[in-house]
């Protein structure tokens, strides 16, 4: 039986058996969660889904690893009029887009989400990380650099600044960077001497773009471009590159779990947010189930629990003290790691991405 049919059957059955207990909310018993796969999805399963199922053994949780194409797929589902997902993990930029287009449900954060243990309402606990009315923040992650610790040519020096990525004399060897303009252009300008608060203004000008590409030109021959987060850790482990950018959780797995000779370079890490959205237009029983789950899965303890399995910072302020001590030095939000950081500017990139991406691709192809 499809989830929907099961739900209808359950509703019909309940109606016949207990017509008087009518208004008790009926909840669907299957739930499709969409995430990114890999270690991250595993951490969500361990911290949220398994404990939830322990409380509600009748619920079946189905995982779908489609978050990378979530916007495209939700649009297609919306056009087809058949939403098969119940809760979708997306980055903040996608959440904003889905919310603007009415594909995600707007929620009242204080009503839907649990308050902190001390009674602070959810909207204050999450604070400014609620970047959209539809967005339920989960974690703060960063795109940052890792480097090999055993490069002979470096003569004992280790990179301490993101600008060392552009320094081929002191730190020779191949680098890996993400095959998109976001992040790379910002780092190029920062290392060309532009103060962080002016980076996006400079990038709006033709000279600014030229300047950023000129800086990237200095290392272009030495760059391997990645498209999937797992590539940099693999390239580092194989010794194909000596320094490379990726999501900090991926580097954590390579360093701590696989014991590779890699170290973190936290300088000017680029913060981004990841969280849930609920697709708009869910049937009532499925919505009731999802709201019940999301309230549980984003409470203070659950968000802190996730940090046991992956080194991403919980989005609630009240979760921070509950993060296990041994994980704290690996968190992007740890004060020692967060001396220089920036949050990539969602609105700015929403405007400039199409144009800069065309230029970036043309530049790559030169």
């Amino acid at each position: 039986m499809t989830p929907r049919k099961t739900a209808f059957a359950a509703m019909a059955g309940a109606g016949i058996l207990a017509a008087t207990a009518a208004m008790a909310q009926q909840m669907a018993n299957t739930m499709t969660l969409v995430s990114w796969g890999g270690a991250y999805q595993n951490s969500q399963n361990q911290a949220y889904a398994i404990p939830y199922r322990a409380m509600h053994p009748e619920v079946e949780v189905v995982w779908d690893e489609s978050s990378a194409e979530a916007v495209a797929k939700l649009r297609a589902m919306n056009e087809a009029g058949n939403i098969t997902w119940d809760l979708v993990d997306v980055v903040a930029a996608d959440a904003i887009r889905l919310c603007d287009e009415g594909l995600a449900m707007e929620i009242d954060h204080d009503e839907v989400l649990a308050p902190a243990p001390d009674g602070t309402p959810a909207s204050e606990d999450f604070g400014e990380l609620i970047v959209s009315d539809c967005f339920i923040p989960q974690i703060v992650f960063s795109t940052t650099f890792g480097y090999r610790t055993d490069v002979k040519e470096w003569g004992g020096k280790v990179p301490t600044s993101v600008c060392d990525v552009f320094d081929l004399k002191t730190f020779p060897g191949k680098r890996s960077l993400e095959k998109r303009p976001i992040g790379n252009l910002e780092w190029a300008l920062i290392c060309d001497g532009v103060p962080i608060e002016e980076v996006y203004d400079v990038l709006e000008t033709e000279e600014g773009i030229k300047r950023a590409f000129a800086k990237l030109d200095t290392i272009r021959d030495q760059v391997i471009w990645w498209t999937a987060g797992a590539q940099t850790p693999q390239l580092l482990a194989d010794g194909e590159v000596v320094i490379g950018s990726t999501y900090n959780g991926r580097l954590y797995a390579a360093i701590v779990e696989q014991k590779q000779p890699i170290a973190m370079l936290w300088d000017w890490q680029m913060f981004d947010l990841d969280g849930w959205i609920i697709p708009a237009g869910l049937p009532e029983d499925r919505l009731a189930r999802v709201l019940d789950f999301v309230r549980f899965a984003t409470d203070t303890q659950r968000l802190a629990d996730q940090a046991k399995y992956i080194s991403y910072g919980p989005a609630r302020k009240s979760s921070a003290p509950l993060v296990p001590e041994h994980m704290k030095p690996h968190m992007p939000t740890d004060p020692a790691n967060a001396k220089h950081t920036f949050l990539f500017n969602y609105e700015w990139w929403a405007d400039y991405r199409d144009d800069l991406d065309a230029r970036f691709q043309a530049w790559l192809a030169q």
Binding site: A72, D238, G239, W348, A350, D351, Y352, D354, A358, A362
Partner: protein
């Protein structure tokens, strides 16, 4: 003619028509039998035909359509598009006030329908900055024209009542239907269904065109989008702006006798004293992006129901007020990628042919026992996941990989001069040649299997050398296999994207990688469709050329 039977035929009727055993004319009976047979044959292929239609023809038609359709602009911004027609985009000056008013109204409606960022994104493909301009303005529209609303309500508090507006603008028969619905709902609750969709009174629409049009749009939008009723919601401030424009535009109210005629007349008398409101200034205050003439030119250029914009973009061109031009040098990418895709695909096809021909020959000529083993080796890659094969090539080819290690170990190259064989074109060619090799070997093998070995022996016994015998006898007979294999490999490789994405670096990626990017990341489905259509046409043209030169009946799969 007599009614006798003739040798092989059936009985013959009085009219000289042959009859079948059941007495019907033979011709008819035969046609019936054939029709039944044709029907049976059709029913046998019907499932496949339906499948092809649903899974292949329909999506391709949809794709071709998406590459030219531009409905979102005229449908979401109909008033703006109409007003822009009267603006001369070459004048170099900003559009007049009416265009700004129309844009504000369209955006307000789009915002309610959650379409303003969609249309903003659509136009942002053509002009950077429209996306956030629409988004930002959308948030502020509900405050535009506030002063006018205050002025109207200050004049008479009735203007702040939803009921006033419904009675003023609503068509009498709609108001009756609405009242009936309200009574039904009071009895039956939610079972009464949705409220009847708002309709404006034609009389008032003739008198106050802008107000009636925009108020009706407002009423319908809140009915369909929010599930609210116009009888309970006061209109947006921009509706008051519309009324202000109608009244100050000199609407003749002297003979108007509809509801609230006095209220209207009082307002018309007071309007000259109202604070002047310029929607243009208010929009410019929200964002000075509205003062950009080039942006308005872009909106006008892309205001049609259909557009060639996606196809132009797919060919590195764009529309300008002075006609079609190439995009700047530093943004050109697609033509180069098309060209590269074709060249690399030809290269890969040739490589599979050179490598596959001897293997197929061996397969066809070895004793069955060995041939079967070899065939399994050829097929083995087929049974392995594409990703595994591609990743295996990474392990082999990378600079710290198996092949480089081996070469360094035997001393052919030095440790700091390791070959770069992956993340470039070489990587793409090697990996794809390997992956597509079976598609060349199998058709070749099945054709070679049918070439009798006695032909070669005959040639040699007539004095041909080994080479002559091969080149003049064997090779021509194997050409249909080459044709089939080459077409298969070429067409498969032209649309490949996973392997180039993983091993192609920057110089080895194909046009299909950009198509995938526009489908799933940038969501520019129109451009992806245009790129896909061009690729489809390119393949069809090549196929046609092949048919003219080699002849398609010269292709054999076995």
């Amino acid at each position: 003619m007599s009614d006798t039977t003739t040798g092989q035929g059936g009985p013959v009727s009085a009219g000289g028509v042959m009859l079948a055993a059941d007495g019907r004319p033979l011709k008819q009976s035969l046609a019936r039998a054939q029709r039944r047979q044709r029907l049976r044959a059709f029913l046998l292929v019907a499932p496949l035909l339906a499948f092809v239609l649903i899974a292949f023809v329909a999506p391709i038609a949809d794709m071709l359509f998406r590459s030219v359709e531009n409905e979102i602009v005229p449908e979401t911004l109909p008033r703006t598009v109409a007003e822009l027609r009267r603006w001369d985009e070459r004048s170099g000056s900003l559009p007049p006030q009416e265009v700004f008013v129309a844009m504000a109204r369209d955006l307000q409606l789009a915002e309610t329908r959650k379409l303003h960022t969609r249309v903003g994104q659509r136009l942002n493909y053509e002009y950077t900055g429209v996306s956030s301009l629409f988004r930002k303005t959308g948030r502020r529209l509900s405050r535009m024209g506030r002063e006018l609303k205050q002025a109207f309500v200050g004049l008479d508090p009735a203007w702040g009542e939803p009921a006033t507006w419904v009675e003023l603008i609503g068509a009498p028969d709609w108001r009756e239907a609405q009242a009936a619905w309200a009574a039904r709902r009071a009895r039956a609750g939610a079972d009464a269904g949705p409220e009847p969709l708002f309709r404006a009174d034609p009389a008032i629409a003739a008198l106050l065109p802008q107000t009636a049009d925009f108020y009706a749009a407002f009423a319908r939008a809140i009915q369909t989008e929010d599930g609210d009723s116009p009888t309970e919601e006061a209109p947006w401030p921009l509706v008051y702006d519309a009324l202000y424009r109608d009244l100050s535009g000199g609407a003749d109210l002297s003979r108007h006798t509809g509801p609230h005629a006095d209220l209207l007349r009082a307002a018309a008398a007071a309007v000259p004293g109202f604070p002047p409101v310029s929607i243009r200034d208010e929009m410019l205050k929200v964002d000075d992006g509205w003062g950009d003439v080039a942006m308005w030119q872009t909106i006008k250029a892309y205001s049609g129901r259909f557009t060639n914009g996606y196809f132009l973009a797919a060919l590195d061109m764009k529309k300008t007020p002075d006609g079609i031009a190439m995009v700047e040098e530093n943004r050109r990418i697609y033509l180069m990628l098309f060209w590269r895709t074709l060249l690399l695909s030809v290269g890969i096809t040739l490589a599979t042919l050179v490598l596959g021909y001897p293997v197929a020959w061996l397969l066809a000529n070895l004793p069955a026992r060995h041939a079967n083993l070899l065939l399994i080796l050829v097929l083995l890659p087929f049974w392995t996941s594409l990703l595994v094969r591609t990743s295996a090539w990474k392990v082999l080819l990378q600079q710290q990989g198996v092949i480089n290690d081996l070469l360094v170990w035997i001393g052919l190259i030095s440790d700091d001069a390791r070959l770069v064989m992956i993340n470039n074109q070489t990587g793409t060619i090697i990996a794809m040649t390997h992956i597509l090799l079976p598609f060349m070997v199998l058709p070749l093998y099945s054709v070679m299997k049918t070439i009798p070995p006695s032909y070669l022996r005959a040639a040699k016994s007539l004095g041909a050398t080994n080479w002559t015998a091969f080149w003049r006898v064997y090779f021509p007979l194997s050409v249909p296999g080459i044709g089939a294999g080459a077409i298969l490999v070429f067409i498969l490789s032209i649309g490949y994207y996973i392997t180039p994405e993983l091993v192609g670096g920057t110089s080895g990626i194909f046009i299909s990688n950009r198509i995938a990017y526009h489908i799933s990341i940038s969501l520019n489905w129109g451009l992806a469709a245009a790129l896909g259509s061009i690729l489809l046409f390119a393949v069809l043209i090549l196929y046609w050329t092949y048919d003219r030169i080699v002849g398609i009946d010269n292709v054999k799969l076995g």
